[in-house]
Amino acid sequence: MNDFLFARSQMAMSLAFHIIFAAIGIGLPVLMSIAEAAWLRTKNPVYLDLAKRWSRGAAILFAVGAVSGTVLSFELGLLWPGFMARAGAIIGMPFSLEGFAFFAEAIFLGVYLHGWDRLPPWLHWFSGVLVALGGILSGIFVVTANAWMNAPAGFTMVDGKATGIDPIAAMLNPASLHEVIHMTLAAFVATGFGVAAVHAFFLRRDRANPFHRAALGLALAVACLSAPLQIVSGDHSSRTVARLQPAKLAAMEALYHSQDGAPLTIGGLPDSRSERTAYALRIPHGLSLLVARDPAAHVTGLDKFPRAQWPNVRIVHWSFDLMVGSGCYLLACSLAAAWLWWRHRRLPDAPWFLRAIVLAGPLGFLAIEAGWMVTEVGRQPWIIYGIMRTEEAVTPMPGIAVPFFGFTALYLFLAASVFFLLRRQFLGAPAGARRS
């Protein structure tokens, strides 16, 4: 591997790490606030216990989110100075606004975690709501910056220099809407199923535990409401990508040849040399239907682009299938939960259902990672789509392998430490007997 590849890998690794904690940073405060609101309304101490335990997990996860996010803001310059020199003035705006959202989040997180007995209950709850708002807003802002890389707007290029800069128009670029909606929902889906999975895991052995039952109920409610919306939003994303980045869509669908009535290709082994995808499942006219709502519609394939502008088709296609597959499984879980709840009017706790939810936990996060692979690898070879190639942006610094391996080792160590700390928190949860 050369320095350029190491730089890309380091960026990818840092982002893939951060996004887990970022998604939790968006979703978990919402869950905590709901639990505390439930306590304020019902005075059922189980909900207070829940809010407190979740907030202890949040303290650990947020710290890791904060340090890994700090690393990212520096890495933009350490790895991609050419990009930042050109783009900073155009998309610095959302990052600056994000800074204020971080302040809101960090300040009220401090208040929330350490202020349990220093504030009137409603004010404490309200600071939790502000943490949630800060998290949602920081996600929205940073995602508009990414959307701009995919659909640059708000400037005109004259002789390789950006002029007529309009940072607001850059923020409200054509890709912002679908990315923001899809990412925010993704955070709720992944955190919801992730938390539900943990409590479902413990409920399998201790079915009557009121603590885990309450937790599962709240987490499932959030997850099962967002998952169906996420599918709708994913469809919206696909159709926008088809319009804005046809090469990315073609790679997602492994569509080498432009055609009318294009089939939907699932799985298989895309081979860019022979321009064929072997062993794939094909649904005739599926892609045309999905993209244009017309079975005969024309869909642009990769053949319309010079090879030098193709992204890595295998990674993009497989990641896309992984995301959609996970999305379908999560949708099935949501429907099953709704149906069971409607039949029995109580928390679904059949053993098969709990097992299905445990499996759903990692899938939400897997879908997030896969979705970002689609977005980011699908954008290649561009760092600013159609304007600047990634290799023009990379740092001249040699020896990037060293920080790549260094940060990878550091992050592995962090991940392992977080895992063991959280496990201890969960194992310390109250047993069923004591509460019932």
Partner: protein, 354 residues
């Protein structure tokens, strides 16, 4: 004032606040590492209590500085991140280790072995991070980082491997240690013994700071000639005088046990040092090739940024005031919680204390 200058002023302000708050958190980590004597455990506890609620918010000031840098001065950002790639990467390693080990320590087992393991990393990274930060900031002033046509021409080792920038690193460490110990004397009003411990530490750190500052100043003559020339302008004597007065006042008030005043003097000292440094640096950003003017973003961006900063400040400062009021008042208003809540609190804060 040009928009670029206004943004630069905001940046310096954010940097000063970062030094005053985040710097003190680093200092806290150093004193945690150096905790000795019969009250070592208590010292660690009050430090952890003082840092706990505020460190994440304090840390965001650094992020604000970086974000303002790349939005307002993208060319300077690109040049700095390229020329100082190595020390800045080391800063990041320090940031990661310090932030995570602090929180792991808080939430991990209370047994000695585990706690000591996290504490060592936390303490060492609390020294290491400000040291490398000082080196980085010092390097900008050396005049050895050269840029022409937006391209770095001086390589990846120039500027930061100099005696002057290392002196800046040592200075940052000593300054933050002094700051933290002075703050801690105010945080320990109700425990006179502990207060004495921190008073002694503050005075030692304050005394050690003087020769370090002098060394850095003398090294600047050859190591950072532009800055040194800056320090001979008309305002320099006032600024140096003011800084020395604050330093003396801090030591004196510590000695007389006027802790509140000592804190004010220490804050004044740090503020003046950083103001002096930025004035001496002006109008250069990366001395001597990148100035505020020639590395700035277009005026539209800067104007929007100023609006955002003004609006943000309106929301930010009341929230910060609330945070500090809540945890830093001399008599924090602890609400009497009824049985259930407290039971859970006890149950959750010390899961398996021996």
């Amino acid at each position: 004032m040009t928009p670029a200058l206004i943004v630069a002023v905001f940046m310096v302000a954010a940097l000063i606040i970062y030094a005053l708050m985040g710097g003190a958190d680093f200092g806290g980590g150093m004193w945690d590492f150096l905790a000795t004597g019969p009250r070592a455990v208590r010292q660690k506890e009050v430090i952890a209590r003082a840092i706990g609620p505020i460190w994440e918010a304090n840390h965001v000031w650094l992020i604000l500085v970086v974000v303002l840098l790349f939005t307002g001065f993208p060319l300077a950002f690109a040049a700095i991140m390229t020329a100082l790639n190595i020390p800045i990467t080391l800063v990041l390693v320090g940031v990661i280790l310090r932030g995570s080990t602090f929180i792991f320590r808080t939430y991990d087992r209370r047994t000695d072995v585990v706690q000591r393991r996290w504490s060592i990393v936390f303490g060492l990274s609390s020294f290491f991070t400000p040291f490398v930060e000082g080196i980085t900031v010092g390097a900008l002033a050396t005049g050895q980082i050269r840029v022409s046509d937006g391209r770095l021409t001086s390589g990846f080792f120039s500027g930061w491997l100099t005696p002057f920038s290392f002196a800046c690193g040592v200075f940052a460490v000593a300054l933050f240690a002094f700051l933290a110990a002075t703050y801690m004397t105010v945080e320990t009003e109700d425990e006179p013994d502990l207060q004495e411990d921190f008073r002694r530490r503050a005075m030692w750190a304050g005394l050690i700071l003087i020769p370090i500052a002098l060394t850095a100043f003398l090294l600047a003559r050859s190591g950072a000639p532009w800055i040194f020339a800056g320090l001979t302008r008309w305002w320099a004597p006032f600024l140096l005088g003011g800084t020395s007065c604050c330093a003396l006042a801090a030591l004196l008030t510590l000695w007389r046990r006027k802790f509140f005043l000592a804190r004010v003097a220490a804050i004044g000292q740090v503020t003046l040092i950083l103001c002096g440094w930025s004035l001496a640096q002006y109008p250069n950003f990366v001395t001597p090739d990148l100035t505020f003017a020639n590395s700035a973003a277009p005026a539209v961006t800067l104007r929007l940024l100023i609006i955002a900063l003004a609006l943000g400040a309106v929301l930010l400062f009341p929230s910060l005031y609330f945070l500090f009021r809540l945890f830093k008042g001399s008599q924090p208003p602890v609400r009497q919680e009824t049985s259930e809540g407290e039971q859970i609190e006890r149950l959750t804060t010390a899961p398996d204390s021996p």
